[in-house]
Symmetry: C2
Subunit: 236 residues, 2 copies
């Protein structure tokens, strides 16, 4: 299991239900995710994420990980066919990425974009748009509050007759949690270990599979940057 | 003056104040806009926006116009240097765009992306991220309500000590309006005409200038699609 804590918040399961509901959301067609934070001078100088011989994928490997995971999560972990980096990465003097973005395309026409940066205000968005519905969440990695988290869901949105306002607004869904998502993640990890140790279970495959898929997409973004923003095909 | 009605809502002036505030927003670094609606079968068959000999820019010319205008508005109408269409447009049988997207780059490293579609649920987003602040709005073209409209502004967002929640949440700003934005637009048009007719004023240049800039970017997206998603330089 990787340490992607927001996967373990009960809100994530509730958002998944919405995205999986053909009546409320339909089929996913476009997603945008945004994860940025304003790193301070010490971070930009000394953190392992800005050192080419340490966590060398920089903002892409740190923030981009969460963006790409959210995109794959929304797409039911179906890998995109093609990844094309945006022509705009910002690098530090050692060549480590401080901000970048990419667009992803699937064979069925589904598309996604993301943007990540160490250089702008803390922002954590998912916008997922389906044929029938729209999901909005602005704190998907660390919720605004520890004991609850919310998201907005809209279905078959439209206007009134004179097109001066919406006929229905997105609904806010508040999901309570007894313990923080990080504690839930550790609890899940302990459960998986105990199942192997005491119940003779085989190691589960879900977490390593989605970790690997996330890394495959990040590597493709990195490769696209290195190849002058050419599209890179994803090979499973 | 073009018919971009949301420019005339008082909320737009209030959002502009936030984006222009160096203390609250800092400098703009990334923007994403999303405008989609689920056109019905009659629209997709008969509307002028899907006819190659009528409003031939399709979703790009209709919805993309609002997205690009929002991006230029957020960037103080500074034209991007480069526009690259995403490798994903969906076209109808006559070759008219039903959905597409693009990424835009400025010389100072600022970036934007947008996505527009006739094929998914009604969605109208601006996410603008600066060095110090973040703007969110989900109904920028037609507000949820006729008499008021809101947006969310965040400044120097961060976490509590244990990183289990945010130390401050975005603030909601509600802007009331006496008459709908469309009536305000007509009123502004009448004022401009009256100034010429009765006060001997010269025609103002703001509106034709920003209309032309919007069209320049749309034309560059269209050119990028036609050139196999190559980057297109914007020439003023």
């Amino acid at each position: 299991m990787d340490g992607t804590m927001w996967m373990h918040h009960p809100r994530t399961a509730s958002m998944r239900e919405f995205l999986s509901d053909a009546q409320r959301f339909g089929q996913l067609r476009s997603i945008h995710t945004h994860f940025t934070f304003a790193a301070d001078a010490d971070f930009l100088e000394n953190d392992i994420r800005v050192k080419p011989d340490l966590d060398a994928l920089g903002s892409l490997g740190d923030e981009g990980w969460y963006c790409v995971r959210a995109i794959l999560w929304a797409a039911n972990y179906e890998l995109p066919k093609t990844v094309t980096a945006s022509r705009n990465p910002e690098l530090n003097q050692a060549g480590v990425i401080l901000s970048c973005g990419a667009s992803l395309q699937w064979e069925d026409g589904k598309v996604a974009t993301f943007h990540c940066s160490f250089l702008t205000n803390l922002t954590m968005d998912i916008t997922a748009v389906g044929t029938k519905g729209t999901l909005h969440v602005h704190d998907f990695i660390i919720p605004y509050e520890e004991k609850e988290a919310s998201f907005y869901a809209a279905t078959e949105s439209g206007f009134d007759d004179l097109v001066t306002k919406w006929s229905s607004q997105p609904s806010k869904h508040v999901i309570k949690t007894d313990i923080p998502q990080e504690a839930r993640m550790v609890s899940e990890f302990a459960r998986l270990v105990a199942d192997i140790k005491f119940k003779n279970s085989k190691p589960e495959k879900k977490w390593p599979t989605i970790s690997r898929k996330t890394q495959l997409v990040l590597d493709a973004v990195q490769a696209s940057i290195e190849r002058g923003f050419e599209p890179v095909q994803i090979q499973e």
